[in-house]
Amino acid sequence: MTNERDDYLWDRSGERDRDVVRLEGLLARYRYDAARDPGLGGKPRLRQPILRRPSVRAVLLAAGVLLGLGLWRAFGPRGERPGYEVSGGADVSRVEVGEHLETGAASALLRVAGIGQVRIDPSSRLRVDGIAADEHRLFLERGSVHATIFARPREFQIGTPAGLSIDLGCEYELSVDDAGRSTMTVTSGRVEFAGGGRRVVVPAGATCQATRESGPNVPVRVGADPRFVAAVRALEHATELDSGDVTTLVEADVSANSVTLWHLFLNATSPDLRAQMYDRLATRYPPPQNVDAGALRRGEPGQLAAWRASIEGEWSWYGD
């Protein structure tokens, strides 16, 4: 079946096949074009509003539907600014920088071409704060969203009244209640949340809440023992420690709860509690060599990097 005359079709060796060459030339216009794909750092791809597609206009006109000049002006020049297409139950079909979208009884889907998508749940209100080649910034005023992000770390951010979530990759839910409190649950990857002078990294399978006043609290595993969670909440801002709560933390499995113990070590108000968390973590994650052990125990930032890498490196990206 195959012979040397097929060599050019196979791997472009041998004598050139005239028809194959002709077809390659004609069909190249359909080839993947990196310049048009924002996934490689180009400008965000702007889908033409459907009424601007020439073929659709032609059919509508042929069917006797007239497009008014006002409708043309509404969709024409505005469509040139960066924005996102929206489908589903939102009040708009496209949202640009500075604009809001609001959902009613149904959810909506916001497609961020080249980097991911955001599902906006019913009764939510979202604002677009900025769009650039390597930065996408949204603000969730109320309601909840489910983001699946495939961009490079830190390219995608969602602000809330209680703080800023920064995508480190790649799937999470974020909600804001009527009091402005935020809840974030990460399904895969990890997300940074910063506010109120605090910063936490929430890995897959963990959740945290945040308020305007105090920023994010210490993340806990989804499904963690309620007594453990209660002890964490009682202790993280406490200056005087309840011994029963401390015992609950000390007896908890270090590996399974490392995300919580690590953030307590970093953020707890009580130096005594931070020291106890250091001791617990050190039983599972030996502190690095050649660092000032005392400074590390006190949580001095300059000493933390290597230890942070060994602890955070064990957090699953897939929630298992």
Binding site: D6, L9, W10, S13, L27, R29, Y30, V59, W317
Partner: protein, 212 residues
């Protein structure tokens, strides 16, 4: 830090990018005539393993290496105006399910399966009230009639049997060589060669071209 700054300041990233560039942009006959190098397969295996371990830059490298391939698989089944969105969906799905991929060497065939399924689902869901014509990108160098001829050629490609359609799209549209198609899809080189030859024979008939 932007991607370009990351590349500019990281020797490893620059080396990976140079490797990507030589694979992605060098469509010369010499470049396509060779088999995929052992080094490239090892690089892919390492990238998949790194991406599964959570290294996002590794996934970005995989995107760059495989996007033309996924683009071709999707183009064989979907309207060209839908292809980029579907390609985007393929990689989103792959990112979500990467933990399910147990053998990193099967990344290409695994990705192709996701692409075929999503493209087929999109095709089934599509119910157009208005007939939207699949328009190729016009080019300044186009001779009269080239755009129409290109549209006819793509339409004829899409009407070919499954086994030939995808292979020919990857070869004639995306410019992958037969050995590269075999590596990406997991098919044997022999099967790919047969698909190319039989598919091209059918395509000639449908386009009214004389037999080679």
């Amino acid at each position: 830090m932007s991607f370009n700054t990351f590349v500019a300041t990281s020797p490893q990233a620059a080396a990976a990018l140079a490797q990507r560039s030589s694979w992605l942009t060098a469509r010369s006959a010499d470049a396509l005539a060779r088999e995929p190098a052992e080094g490239e397969r090892d690089a892919d295996f390492a990238l998949v393993a790194a991406a599964r371990a959570g290294q996002r830059e590794a996934f970005a490298r995989l995107y760059e290496r495989y996007v033309p391939f996924v683009h071709g698989v999707v183009l064989a089944r979907a309207r060209s105006s839908d292809v980029l969105d579907l390609v985007h969906d393929v990689f989103l799905t792959a990112l979500r399910r990467l933990g399910d991929l147990h053998d990193a060497r099967q990344f290409g065939p695994w990705l192709a399966t996701i692409a075929r399924n999503l493209a087929s689902d999109a095709h089934k869901r599509r119910r157009e009230v208005l007939e939207l014509v699949d328009e190729p990108r016009a080019r300044a160098s186009d001779a009269d009639g080239d755009a129409e001829e290109a549209r006819r050629a793509l339409a004829a490609l899409r009407e070919l049997p499954d086994a030939y359609r995808e292979t020919l799209v990857l070869r004639l549209v995306e410019g992958l060589s037969g050995p590269e198609i075999a590596e990406r899809t997991g098919l044997t080189p022999g099967s790919v060669r047969v698909n190319l030859c039989r598919g091209m024979k059918l395509l000639r008939e449908r386009l009214g071209l004389p037999e080679a």
